[in-house]
Amino acid sequence: MSIIASAFSRLSLHQTFHRSFTTSSVVALSVTPILCGEPLKKKKKIDPAIIKQREDRKRKKLEKQIRRLEKNARQLKPIDEMEVPLSLIDEKDKRTRPLPKLTAEVVERRALLEKSWARYQLQEKLRDYKIIDRVQRAQQKALQELRFESKELYDQAIQIDPNLVPIHVDGPTATPAIDNYESPDGEYVNISKKWD
């Protein structure tokens, strides 16, 4: 009964008057869904050929982007220092040294020198291995003896010495450092590039 009343009330011009009855949940009246109800919109029908065309276009666009990305990935960032200056390429003939052709004797001597150098290096390497072996053996023996004397001392001996890391050692130089040498203030130009 009330539903019909409210439905008609929309037609009425005097809305204020009509709203005098309540639709709160206490009365368990539910009017809105029906009031707001309206017929569904009719779905537009698109030609399946056009849909296909659109999808194709989308796919092609994506493929193109991917191709462009792949192409760029292969292209590395240029390193200026690695590029041979054009002037060097142009003046290649002028810049090559006029060298006399190597005689067979010189070639032979060089080959022999290379061989004897290889032999020498092998000997040096083996010598190094032997030394390392010997020193390790000496240490193992010392540790073994220490362990035999006292387990406690042995345990203390195999602890890592934290003072040794990081270690700083100045290597041998060609000539010894000059005592009390004051190095002159040099000038330098910073040529490192700034990348923004």
Binding site: R97, K130, D133, K141, A142, L153, I158, Q159, T173
Partner: protein, 264 residues
């Protein structure tokens, strides 16, 4: 050659194993005896300058330099030098008479100036005063070699040159003993860096039966240390800095054998 090397390596390792087994057996046999524990310190003064090249190294170095020269192309400076020389030649003949070029600094002038500058600079000498005087107390001798510190030690009645050593007292680790021993033998001036807590070598000797007390002998554990700065305070002890060859001559024979096991 390689075969031979492998063979020697193998024979080394087997003999090593046998030796280890032998020492194990020996130590077990003596398990009832008590030994004094000693710590010794091998102080090395590492090489300050690079080793002189031997014959083949020198030859190969020259060879590499020659190859480098042959394979390189002319630098900008060389090009300029050649150009300057050409101009000079032309102007001598009177064909190219230009005041500007005559006044300009040529590449040759620059080269000469740089050479002068280099000659004026005095490099540190590779042989020092201590070498000329053969002063074995200086750490500044034989810069190419590793030097080792020997200190006079009293063994019973006699005095022998040995690595600084001393007896461990209760409550010390071997490393602490080594540090203390070095201080006691050489004073506070010398500054060294110990290489870790583990000993690097070992030597033992038995006391003569006349003076043998509770202990049969001494076991000496060597610690390796590298010299940083300072020297032994001279009043306190007699000492020497020797290279490997001199060291092995100076030390008592058996002792030298043990020490040479862990010399590099």
């Amino acid at each position: 050659m390689l075969k031979r090397a492998v063979k020697t390596f193998l024979s080394h390792s087997t003999s090593h194993r046998v030796k280890c087994a032998a020492t194990n057996a020996a130590t077990i046999d003596q398990s009832n005896n008590k030994w004094d524990l000693y710590a010794g310190v091998l102080v090395e003064r590492l090489p300050v300058i690079t080793k002189s090249l031997n014959k083949i190294e020198q030859e190969y170095l020259d060879h590499l330099k020659q190859l480098e020269f042959e394979q390189s192309s002319k630098s900008d400076f060389e090009m300029r030098d050649e150009k300057d020389k050409l101009i000079a030649q032309l102007s001598q003949k009177g064909k190219h008479d230009d005041v500007d070029t005559a006044l300009q600094q040529t590449a040759q002038d620059l080269k000469d100036a740089w050479k002068d500058e280099l000659h004026q600079f005095q490099l540190g000498p590779r042989t020092t005063e201590a070498d000329h005087k053969n002063d074995v107390k200086s750490t500044n001798r034989k810069l190419e070699e590793t030097l080792f510190l020997l200190v006079e030690q009293r063994l019973g009645e006699e005095k022998v040159m040995l690595l600084p050593q001393g007896k461990r007292v209760n409550g010390e680790t071997m490393r602490q003993t080594a540090e203390r021993v070095l201080k006691e033998n050489c004073g506070d001036d010398i500054d060294v860096m110990f290489y870790g807590n583990a000993p690097c070598g070992f030597y033992k000797w038995k006391y003569p039966s006349a003076i043998r007390g509770e202990t049969v002998g001494a076991k000496l554990f060597f610690y390796r240390a590298s010299h940083k700065k300072g020297n032994v305070i001279e009043k306190e002890t007699h000492f020497q800095w020797l290279d490997k060859v001199e060291l092995e001559e100076k030390l008592p024979k058996e002792y030298a054998q043990s020490v040479s096991q862990f010399l590099l």
